[in-house]
């Protein structure tokens, strides 16, 4: 098929995004094989992939749909715990780790996606800060509820209780998966960096293809002008829900990946602060800018580790960097300087492009 000018530009831009991820994977493999990868950084590889998926999926809600979400970690949590339950539940039936991981990711995505629908419905009636507070409330509810759930596997299948471990009535043969506030213990570490990179690539494939399609245009139309979108026959309900569900499902998969990298997982890990952290990735990477989300998620996950030299001061430094970046990136005089700088390199007129990638 003959590509249009925008089509070609888009193809190049998308290729850069995918290429960047693949290249990063190869580089890390090389550094690792020569023994230069510190163990703390190696431990960060899977979380980085999970956070990239979180950031890209949140960008779908915040950047493409234009709705602020303060509870994205809630979907991650749902994916994490349903993923853990599935992976442990299948332990005796499916031997192969990768297969169990795949099942965990899929179930995590489906469960989180279902809840994306549940949260998406009130989202239809609410706007702006009121919607943001509902997403925040949702995240807190999920955290609170998971903290009180006990799940175990007995000979006859899965058992769930809201009171305590004993009431599961598992007997001697059963295993307890989820212990209320203690979280999930004895999780199999099925996740790997390779699997993480594959999930990142699938996420990119889904989000980029969605954005540049009829559905993606409809979602952006709802964002840019709701009334105009309705006036050309677009269903606000349908496309808001589409964006919410896909975003939530991807966050669920990210949660499952994240959880299966640790032997213990607690619900507190996926609290308001995590939602905010991912939102920071999205905003610093550029709202609506998918490639920016990837870079911001990776850099900002590694940054606190890099700042370890400052020890006690590192989180303080992180906070100051965050404030300074926001202040400088929104300063008009600096913005002009930057455009002039870029223009000199391009030897053309300073042209502000709207970049979707």
């Amino acid at each position: 098929m003959k590509l249009t000018k925008t089509g070609q530009k888009r193809l190049v831009s998308n290729s850069i995004t995918y290429g960047m991820v693949v290249l990063a994977f190869i580089l890390v493999q090389i550094v690792d094989s020569t023994g230069h990868l510190t163990s703390s950084l190696r431990g960060q590889l899977v979380p980085i992939c999970a956070y990239i998926v979180m950031a890209v999926s949140l960008n779908l809600t915040v950047g493409v749909l234009g709705e602020l979400s303060l509870g994205h970690a809630g979907f991650m949590s749902l994916g994490a715990f349903s993923g853990v339950i599935v992976s442990l539940g299948l332990r005796d039936m499916v031997g192969a780790g990768p297969l169990r991981l795949l099942a965990a990711l899929l179930v995590g995505a489906v469960i989180a996606g279902l809840f994306g629908f549940v949260v998406g419905v009130p989202a239809l009636r609410l706007r702006g800060d009121y919607l943001a507070i509902v997403t925040l409330a949702f995240g807190e509810i999920i955290k609170n509820v998971i903290n009180t759930i006990y799940v175990g596997i007995g000979p006859d299948g899965l058992r769930v209780s809201m009171s305590d471990q004993a009431s599961l009535g598992l007997g001697e043969t059963g295993t307890v998966i989820l212990r209320g506030p203690m979280g999930a213990v004895g999780v199999d570490k099925l996740a790997s960096f390779g699997a993480g990179i594959i999930l990142v690539l699938i996420t990119l494939f889904i989000v980029l293809n969605l954005v540049h399609s009829r559905s993606g245009r409809a979602i952006m139309a709802v964002r840019d002008n709701r009334i105009a979108a309705e006036s050309v026959g677009i269903s606000i309900t349908r496309y808001k829900l589409t964006a919410f569900i896909i975003s939530a499902a991807l966050a669920g998969a990210a949660g499952a990946l994240y959880a299966l990298n640790y032997s213990t997982v607690v619900a507190r890990k996926f609290d308001f602060n995590t939602s905010i952290l991912v939102l920071v990735f999205v905003v610093l990477g550029g709202i609506g800018n998918i490639r920016g989300s990837i870079i911001a998620a990776a850099v900002l996950t590694v940054l606190p580790e890099m700042l370890r030299a400052f020890n006690d001061y590192r989180m303080l430094a992180y906070a100051i960097i965050l404030i300074l970046v926001m202040l400088t990136s929104n300063n008009d005089r600096l913005k002009q300087l930057r455009w002039r700088f870029i223009a000199r390199f391009r030897r053309g007129t300073p042209q502000q492009e709207v970049d979707h990638e």
Partner: protein
Amino acid sequence: MNNLAKMVPVPSRAIIPERDLGSTPILEVSHLGISFGGLNAVEDFNIIVGRTEIAGLIGPNGAGKTTVFNLLTKVYQPTRGAILLDGKDTAGMSTMQINQAGIARTFQNIRLFQALSVEDNVKIGLHNQFKYSTLNAILRLPRFWDAERKAHDQALELLSIFNMEHMANDTAGSLPYGAQRRLEIVRALATRPSLLLLDEPAAGMNPSETEALMANIIKIRDMFQIAIMLIEHDMRLVMGICEGIAVLNYGKIIAKGTPEEIQANPAVIEAYLGQKKEA
């Protein structure tokens, strides 16, 4: 409401072009009204628009003209009255359903998808013309490529009505004012309406642009064989291309007729002169 009273249709003294007499009028509005906080913004609004008519809706500022458009497109749900589109009742429909049923519009304060390209704006107008599912989009199945190619061709063809093909890749928000107004018309046309509502299409245009717009409105009517209803303050445009005109003042129709009749109507002259005195 008195259930015992026998309701009889009130003749609305409607006029439509003779060529449209044989077919159902595209729009029949009777006793349409809406109140905001006890105030009647539009009251007892009646109009019939022929299938290929170019109709005008004029009146002083604040007369309720845009409110009528908002009622017709269900941005506001009417408090009273009925709107028949192509003979079918539109009661209970949403803005989206109204568009799918055949009414498309532009807005007084331009409402483009600013951050998107001109072509994408038109393609969004084509949303219901070339359909494929989200799954098709994500997996890039043949259906996607086929529909996208057709949408691309169709978008450029529609843009060519106003000679705007070369702007296809520009960002909508970066276009000059006049071009933004024209793009809004193209986007509305893309939804294949049978009735096109234009809210002050010539606002902010210079005389030569307005001249071209008048020709283009007639061209669009002839090409697509649709009805067009427009709100406009530029009397040269209204008197030049509208076949039937309704005059609104304080939410009520004060006159209806051909351009000649309207120009000679004392009530219309007073409404406009009265406004001039205040200003």
